[in-house]
Amino acid sequence: MNNQEKARIPAFDALSQHFKENAHMALRNKQLRQNMRTAMDSLITKRLISMPDENEREDLRELGNHIRARALSKLPDLLEKLEANLTKRGVQVHWAETTDEANQIIFDIAKRRQAKLFIKGKSMVSEELNMNHFLKKQGIEALESDMGEYIIQLDHERPSHIIMPAIHKNAKQVGQLFEHKLDTPYTDDVDTLIQTGREVLRHKFFEADIGISGVNFAVAETGSLFLVENEGNGRMSTTAPSVHIAITGIEKVVENLRDTVALVSLLTRSALGQAITTYVNLISSPRKMDELDGPEEVHLVLLDNGRTQAFADAQLRQTLNCIRCGACMNHCPVYTRIGGQAYGTVYPGPIGKIISPHLMGLDKTEDLPIASSLCGACGEVCPVKIPIPELLRRLRKEDIRPPKEPLHYVKGQGARFSRKERLMWNVWKTMNTNPCLYRKFSYLATRLRFMTPNILAWSQNHSKAKPAVYTLHELAKKHLGDNK
C-alpha cells in the first residue's frame, strides 16, 4: 500500500456498482448516517424558510415546469439558435454524442494549447465524462476548485451530493485529510480549513491553462452561459485561464433571458434556501479586442450521452426538466439513509434513479427504480415538477419488460425480467380476479395460517406476514349479520 492510499479517510467506499451491497454497507456506517441526517434536515428547513408563501412557491413551480417544458418542446430549434448566437460572439460550440467524444474534444483543445493544468468549477457533466481520470491518462492534471469537490478529489472520492459534494464528511474528517495530504496542522475549525483551501487553490487559478465549468442555463435568445455559485471558484475558472471550456447536457437550454428570472429563484431557493447565490455569472463571449482579461477562447461542449433517449418518449422526457438543485435528494428518505455514493452512479438520489438508466442503460442500473418507497416527497418538492414517482413506476415497468419485446425507449430494458416472477404474478392475478378462486384461496390461507412459510428476505426487516384468523368476507358477513 502506498502512502497516498494509507492516508485515505474515506467516509464510505462505493466498492461496486451493486446498489444493494453498497446500501447495506452504508446503512451500517453510523458516522455517515449522522452526517447525512444532520445535513439533509438543515437543507429541508432552509428551503422552507426561503419559500414562506405557499401560493408563490406553488405558482412558481408551475411556471418553472412550463418554462422547462416549453424549452424542451422546441429543443432542436433552440439548440441551433443558441449555437448561432454563441458563434456570432466568438464562442466555439462542439457537439458530442458520447462521453468519449466529449473527452476527445476537450483533449484536442488541450493539445492545441499545450495545456498541462486544468482548473475546474463545479460540473456534474464532467463527472459523467470521468474527465479528470481521462485527462490524467494523457498527462494533464485536472484540479477541482469547488471546496467540496476539492476535498473529495484529495480523497479520491466522487461527489455524494450534486450541490454539496462532500456532505458525507464532517469537519474532523476534512481536518485529518488536510493534515495528511497538505501537511497542514490538524484543525477542525472550518474557517481555517477553508483558508487553507483558498491558499492552495489561489496558486492553481494563477497557473492553470484551461478552466472548466458546467452551465446552469444556456440562454438561446442571447447566447449566454448562465452560471450560479457562492465561492467565486466558478468565476475564477471561467475568467483567469486563457481558455474556458463549458460542458453541458443538451437539455440545459432555455428560450429567453427572462426565463432565468423564475428558474434561478427556484434553483437557489430549492437547493440551498438562498434567495440567490453570491455570484450569478453570465458569459456571452471570449475576451474582446479592447478588454484586459477573460479567456481568449471560450468553448461550449454540448453532450447527449443518453439524453436523446429520454427525450424520445413524452413521459420520460420530463426527466430532462431537471435544473439540478438536489432538493429531491435532500427530501428522500432512502438517500438520507445511504448517502450519495451508494448509488454507484454520477447522479444519486431520486433524480439519479430516473436519469441514470438513460445514461448507463437499465441493465447497469436495474436496482435503482426499485430503491424507492414511492413516498412522493421528491415529486412534491421538485421546482420544475418532474413527476419522479410516476417516472420510477414507468422505469420499473421497463425494468421487467420481457426482453424479446421491441426496444421501448430505455436501453437495457427487461434487466430484472424473471420468468418465475412473471409466472407468480400471473397466478396471483388470476387468484385475485376470479371470485371463486379468491374465496377458496383466502379460506385456505386463514385456516392454514400456522403453516405460513418464513420468507427470510421479507422477515429480516419486517414482522412476519401472517394471514388473519378469518377472511375479510367472513368478518363482513358476521358484522352485517350482527347488525341486522
Binding site: K74, E97, R202, V280, D293
Partner: protein, 224 residues
Amino acid sequence: MSARDNILKKLRSSLEGATARPDDFNIELVTKPWNYGDTKGQVTQLKNMMESVRTEVHQTNQANWLDLFVELLKQKKINNLLYSPNIEIGKKITNYWPKNNELPKLKVYDRPVEEWKHELFFEIDASITSTLGAIAATGSLIVWPTPEEPRLMSLVPPIHFAILEASKIFNNFYEAQQTLNWAENTPTNALLISGPSKTADIEQILAYGAHGPKELIVIILEDV
C-alpha cells in the same frame, strides 16, 4: 453524419407531430411579490439582504463618500488600492489622493492581465469598482465588467468596495433585465454579486472568503 446532425435528427424525429408549448411566462409572479416601493424602501430591502450575508453597507452622498471611503481604507489597513482612473469615481479618487497623506498606493488595471497576473493575484489588497445598479429583492449588485473595470477587478482582491447610486436600484431581476435592455444589449460578461465569497461545503458551516473577496463593502450614494 456529424454528432451535431445525429443529435438534432434524433430530437426532431422525437418531436414529430408535436406542437411547441405556448409561452405563458407570468410577469406578475416574478415581480409583484418583489416590489419595495420608492428608493427608500429599495435601499432598506437591499441593505437587509446584503447584510444578512455579511456585506458592509454604508449610506452616504456624493459630497461625503470619499471621506467615508478613506476612513474605511484606514480602518482596514489597506496598503494598495486597485481603481480605474477613467471613470467618474476614479477621477474623484485621483483628485482626492494628492491632497491627503498616508493613503494607500493607487494601482491601475491598465494592461492585459498576463502582464501583471502575479501582482494582481498575490499583492493587491483591495479594489474599488462602480456598479451598473442593484436588485433589491435578492440584495445583488449588477456589474458588467468593461475595459476600464475588467472582470477580475471585482473578484481577485481580498476586499472589494463597490459604489452604488441609489436611483439605480431595481426591485427585482426581471425589472433589471427589462430596464437595462439586457437581452438586446448582452455584454461579454455580466455579474450579479450578492455578498463576499462564501462556502458551506464543510458540514454546512458557513465560511466567508472562499475564493473571491473576503469582504464586500457597498457604499450607497443616496443623492444620485
